[in-house]
Symmetry: C2
Subunit: 306 residues, 2 copies
């Protein structure tokens, strides 16, 4: 399961009642925070989420509305008695930028690992979650992130029984490991498991023009969270100039990716009522929803139902 909470939906400036765009994923006891603009710590509290389990903070880019709340979040994490290391994944020069920002912070009771994003689109494993950062197209270097929680293939106890595998070894086979029996036989995991099962994918990208990599990496996403900076093409010139998207462009990405659902976020402060532009986006991708601060969903493995 992936528990998704859209903490905020504002671009550029936080407004009363609209926090800056940020998102929390809770997966297998690990929390991942994506972006961290000013007031994110308040958004986390408003959503009733905890600071302590935040193991990873992914920063899309270094514009203030995506990082200015970092010190506050780290201070609240320190206050939550977190002792375990925290990893921050952020664009190049992250160590330098974050180092500068921490000038107003004390020593934290946990270690901070800062890891810099690369332009290669390569997934990596984080606590059993496959994370794929991908570069997008904004005025400054900016990344999107796709999170995939794989699912183990179904274990076939009858097959294991038939092969004479002692029960004590079943869990290793179930987790995909091959095992050697006392009699010397090698049992492959695939001999006792069914066909591969689909996991859960969440893809997040804001502050970008609609580049193909988003739908490529985000293929078959259960949920896409994409920016809807402007409602319609009246603002297309500005969107193109500043590296942003209008609603229908985001909807086009979700359609191209074959996504199940799209949440729009990162609204311009000049867009007080995003719902007014929703119908047009739905003509492109019907499962489009205007994200709201604190919006939450629990994504289950497909066969488990919802």
């Amino acid at each position: 399961m992936i528990d998704v909470t859209l903490l905020g939906t504002g671009g550029m400036m936080p407004l009363p009642g609209r926090f800056l765009t940020s998102c929390m994923l809770q997966i297998n006891g690990h929390s991942i925070l994506i972006d961290c603009g000013e007031s994110t710590q308040t958004a986390i509290r408003s959503a009733g989420l905890s600071f302590k389990p935040i193991d990873l903070i992914c920063i899309t880019h270094f514009h203030a509305d995506h990082i200015s709340g970092l010190v506050g979040v780290l201070l609240s994490m320190a206050n939550s008695e977190r002792k375990e290391p925290v990893t921050i994944l952020a664009p190049p020069k992250a160590a330098q930028v974050i180092g500068h920002m921490l000038v107003i912070a004390p020593q934290f009771p946990f270690e901070l690992y800062v890891s810099e994003l690369k332009n290669d689109v390569l997934p990596f494993d984080f606590e059993g979650i496959q994370i794929t950062p991908f570069p997008v197209k904004h005025r400054v270097p900016c990344w999107g992130f796709s999170f995939y929680l794989p699912r183990l293939a179904k274990f076939d106890p009858d097959a294991a029984e038939a092969l004479g595998v002692p029960r004590i070894l079943w869990s290793r086979l179930q987790s995909g490991e091959d095992v050697e029996l006392d009699d010397g036989r090698l049992i492959r995991a695939r001999q006792v498991t069914g066909k591969e099962r689909r996991g859960i994918r969440v893809t997040y990208a804001t502050d970008t023009r609609p580049v193909p990599v988003i739908s490529e990496v985000g293929r078959d996403s259960d949920l896409m969270i994409l920016e809807g900076m402007y409602g319609n093409d009246e603002k297309m010139d500005k969107a193109m100039h500043d590296g942003h998207m209008i609603f229908e462009e985001a909807a086009g990405i979700a359609r191209d990716a074959g996504a199940k659902q799209l949440w729009l976020t990162h609204y311009s402060p000049a867009l007080p009522d995003p719902e007014a532009y929703l119908d047009a986006a739905r003509t492109v991708f019907p499962e489009t929803v205007c994200g709201t601060c604190g919006m939450h969903t629990l994504l289950r493995y497909p066969e488990d139902g919802r």
Copy 2:
């Protein structure tokens, strides 16, 4: 007149519904922002105030809850089309600290003057407002600020008439200037004005133990805004260790200063209901009020009534 808005009342961490401690003074068309923790830009919007007239930002000290919102406020000021220079008055190393914080900010459309506070208690003039910064006693170097709006002595037109002063020179005399007439006579302003009139004083101090300088500089304040980090002396050890005050200590300062009113602010996040401790503070200084976010008052010259 001094228009005072208490933007936030929280210490340490912003909470849903409680912004970090910050205050806006509006005096003669100039706005002065005191402290600037995370979410201050949202607090300013919530209070319905403008970013453009902020000419001076006074920072008490460099703990994150008093400065982490600076970049956001400056960005909102840039967005308000402000072009005039902005002055930041802050503790020593201000240029370095603020320079580091601005790593995530673009070039602003206004000049930023950074002025560092000194330990001498010396008033200076800022746009006709007398500002006295004074060092207080916290874990790190920290300052309070007293703002005094002087009032011109009352002009006596009969006296001016009797002395044969042409009307064209009256406004100069009224503003306290001596003038020379065409016939060579020097007319002193005091010859045509009545006795000195009291102005308006607002004094602000948070994050400090109750040191005498606060009531000395803040003598006869029309309004004192002081921290009430903790409700009562159950937390006295912590208050003494961390350089904070309990409600009754703040009330004692207002009493010693002969203040007209005290607003408490900068509540600990562990103090959800400050009103619960108000009665005890009022036994020390009856005109004590628990500050709330957005609380506002218009202070007039004494004789003008309220």
